[in-house]
């Protein structure tokens, strides 16, 4: 290596670099959940939005807790998350001006196929959770303050159980890693259906409990406050926010399928 | 070249200069004058303080007390070490290097040529002068000990110093290589360079010295003309040294 080569390399690098940086400004940054990104929903619906408006949507997929934090700091133009109580608080705190229902899917409980806690026959999800706790069957919890994690904790509360002990394992991970771990340790876990259906490493895990209304998983879109974060691309973000609940956007969500199975159900009012 | 009168060289003055390291006084307070364009040989047994005296003289180390300095304008200087320090480059590049870092350098070869020649050409002439032209592209650090020392001398030659310090430059060399170094020393001197060289080789000193500085245990015991030193040394240690007895 001599100085000339180094210079040429640096030059070439900076050239390709400027190409990356010169990308147009017609995009918004969307903080959303891993469940929507990992299942492939955004890959399916964003092209339709981009085609109509010319706006690209850059998705940062994180847990709902982190998505709220990104929104509070003004690092994303829009939020699409699934923790209705948290979202309403977010609006009440003045970080967002509007929250709209976009779609729902549901949570399910998956576990080892021999079902040691016998939850497949449970009447309600609360029963199922009680059975898991009583039999002290291993249960893998996200433990990451995500929307799914918050929903799971609310259900334990409804079941009158404080989950703790050897059997209850808080992983502090996203949905995918939690499923990988649950599969590895033959544990039950609480997951959104979309991530589960798109998940490719189930090993001995199988879907054991579904269908209770309490497992309803609502997604909401948040329009961030222009007052609090004036620098954000509020115009573009508003177009996205409105498109999601438009007839067109709702249809795109309904059309998204994995293995012939619809994963998200539009329910904008 | 020896026809032209060499310019007078400033006098190097040690005034009570001493050097102490970790509580050991390696050079006792020393007063010394080195003047004129002579060949001064610093002599003494190992550990006498010869290398230290050379380093103080060349300004690589400051004395811990007393003063070392030049009376008048400090002359241009170069130093050849016991183990030549050569850069990890080819022999040729070792020489072009000193020309590149010292842009004001006007080597003798250039001066006589009367017009500016390229660094590379200057370096090649120096290599040729020291019989190294055929090794120009060879990595300097794979050369033999004698070749390395000649390369160090060629480097010093390009610097065209008014004073050349040589610190036991032949102590690790075979007789043929020693001869080449001594010839080079005489060649430098002919060009008008003052020589300050340390050695513990009595025969070498007899061949080269105009005057002798004799050190023993960090004490400067004698500074006399060579003739006088070898025929009638003043100190007991020097006479023993000349007789070839072991002194320490």
């Amino acid at each position: 290596m001599n100085k000339t080569t180094a210079l040429i390399t640096a030059g070439a690098l900076s050239l390709t670099w400027s190409g990356t940086l010169l990308a147009d400004d017609g995009y918004i940054t969307l903080a959303s959940t891993t469940s929507t990104e990992n299942s492939g929903l955004f890959g399916a619906i964003i092209p339709a939005f981009t085609e109509k408006t010319g706006i690209d949507v850059r998705v940062v997929a994180v847990g709902t807790g982190q998505a709220f934090e990104i929104g509070r700091r003004g690092d994303a133009d829009s939020l699409l998350v699934h923790d209705t109580a948290g979202e309403e608080q977010f609006v009440a705190d003045g970080y967002a001006t509007e929250r709209l229902n976009v779609m729902y899917n549901d949570f399910v409980i998956v576990g080892p196929s021999d079902d040691p806690a016998g939850i497949s026959d449970s009447e309600t999800v609360v029963d199922a959770m009680q059975q898991i706790a009583e039999s002290e069957s291993p249960f893998a919890s996200r433990g990451d303050d995500s929307g799914t994690n918050r929903a799971e904790l609310r259900l334990w509360e409804d079941a009158g159980i404080t989950p703790q002990g050897e059997w209850y394992r808080e992983l502090g991970s996203g949905m995918g890693p939690t499923l990988n771990t649950a599969a590895g340790m033959d544990a039950y876990t609480f997951t959104d259906r979309a991530t589960w259906v798109a998940f490719e490493n189930p090993q001995d895990l199988t879907l054991l409990f579904e269908g209770d209304e309490a497992l309803f998983n609502q997604y909401g879109s948040l329009l961030l406050s222009a007052e609090r974060h004036p620098h954000l691309k509020h115009d573009l973000a508003a177009q996205w926010h409105e498109w999601l609940v438009s007839k067109e956007g709702q249809q795109a969500i309904a059309d998204f399928e994995v293995d012939g199975q619809q994963l998200f159900f539009p329910n904008a009012e | 070249m020896n026809a032209s009168q060499p310019p007078p060289v400033a006098t190097l003055a040690f005034d009570g200069a001493a050097f102490t390291h970790r509580g050991h006084t390696l050079l006792k307070p020393t007063t010394l004058r080195l003047s004129g364009c002579q060949r001064t040989l610093i002599m003494g047994p190992n550990g006498a303080g010869k290398s230290l005296l050379m380093r103080l003289a060349h300004g690589l180390l400051p004395p811990t007390s007393g003063a070392v300095g030049w009376q008048g304008t400090a002359p241009t200087q170069a130093m050849v070490f016991q183990r030549p320090v050569l850069l990890r480059r080819s022999a040729l590049d070792n020489l072009t290097y000193v020309l590149a870092i010292n842009k004001t350098l006007r080597p003798a070869l250039n001066r006589t040529a009367g017009h500016s020649i390229s660094r590379k050409a200057q370096a090649m002439q120096a290599l040729d002068k020291f019989g190294l032209a055929h090794l120009a592209q060879r990595p300097a650090r794979v050369l033999s000990g004698g070749e390395q020392q000649r390369l160090a001398l060629a480097r010093a030659w390009l610097l065209n110093p008014q004073v050349l310090f040589l610190d036991e430059p032949t102590s690790a060399l075979d007789p043929a290589a020693i001869k080449a170094v001594e010839d080079a020393v005489l060649e430098f001197h002919r060009r008008g360079t003052r020589i300050v060289m340390s050695t513990h080789d009595l025969h070498q000193a007899r061949r080269l010295a105009d005057d002798v500085v004799f050190l023993h245990n960090g004490h400067l015991l004698e500074h006399t003309l060579a003739k006088q030193f070898f025929s009638a040394p003043a100190s007991r240690e020097a006479s023993a040294f000349i007789r070839g007895e072991l002194v320490w």
Binding site: T29, N201 | A78
Partner: protein
């Protein structure tokens, strides 16, 4: 299910398909990491050399901190850069969060201490050997630095490769400051994390194999350049 067979066949299929999404991910990975290493080297080589040459109060503390920072967890570096570049942070107005530039900044922070600390070590050794000669030639310490860096070049090449290894292997920092945005900030390592979380382990491992091949190729090229030059120059 994951077997080593289908990981390799997935890797092979990925390479053969020359999938454009994959190519852009690979290119971005290389761009980000190489850029980070170039910038870090430009800063850390002179810094390390200066640290080797100068004695000043607190020097040992600086060296200890640099050595310790070699073990800085990438996710911590990422978090610091995130807080710095976040809109609510001091440099938020630059709008760099979730861009490749942010990823380069984070990786520079990870790589710089490695290159600086190891350079310091190498240059200190070389300076021990060269000091008297260079001083005799009349070089002041600032002017010794280029000579020492050049003559230590073979050792420093390895140092820079160590930095590149750290940059190309880490995921914690680029995940946080880049956001793993498809087509914008998704690189090899964040793709691997994503595929793992999708349970698509053959794909994840396949991407890992490709990353390993790329890093090996870059190291091989650097090694060959170094060996050829070493043979030529000794």
């Amino acid at each position: 299910m994951l077997t080593s067979d289908n990981a390799f066949s997935t890797a092979l299929a990925l390479i053969l398909s020359m999938d454009s999404a994959l190519i852009s991910i690979v290119m971005l990975s290389l761009q980000v990491s190489l850029m980070a290493v170039v910038i870090a080297s430009l800063l850390a080589l002179p810094l390390g050399a200066a640290l080797a040459l100068w004695r000043f109060p607190g020097r040992n503390a600086v060296i200890i901190v640099l050595n310790a920072l070699m073990g800085l967890p990438p996710v911590v570096a990422g978090l610091c850069v995130y807080l710095l570049l976040s809109r609510a942070g001091p440099l938020g107005s630059w709008g760099l969060l979730f861009t490749p530039t942010a990823m380069v900044i984070a990786q520079v922070i990870l790589v710089l201490p490695i290159i600086a600390a190891l350079t310091r070590q190498q240059i200190e050794t070389l300076h021990g050997e060269y000091a008297e000669q260079l001083q005799s030639l009349g070089l002041t310490r600032p002017r010794m630095i280029p000579t020492l860096l050049w003559d230590a070049r073979f050792g420093l090449l390895t140092v820079i490769l160590a930095g590149f290894g750290r940059a190309s292997a880490e995921v914690g920092a680029v995940m946080i400051v880049g956001g793993n945005i498809d087509g914008v900030t998704r690189v090899m390592t964040t793709s691997i994390v994503l595929e793992t979380s999708k349970g698509n382990l053959p794909m994840a491992l396949g991407l890992g194999i490709i990353l390993l091949i790329l890093v090996t190729m870059i190291n091989a090229i650097a090694h060959m350049i170094g060996e050829t030059a070493k043979k030529r120059l000794g």
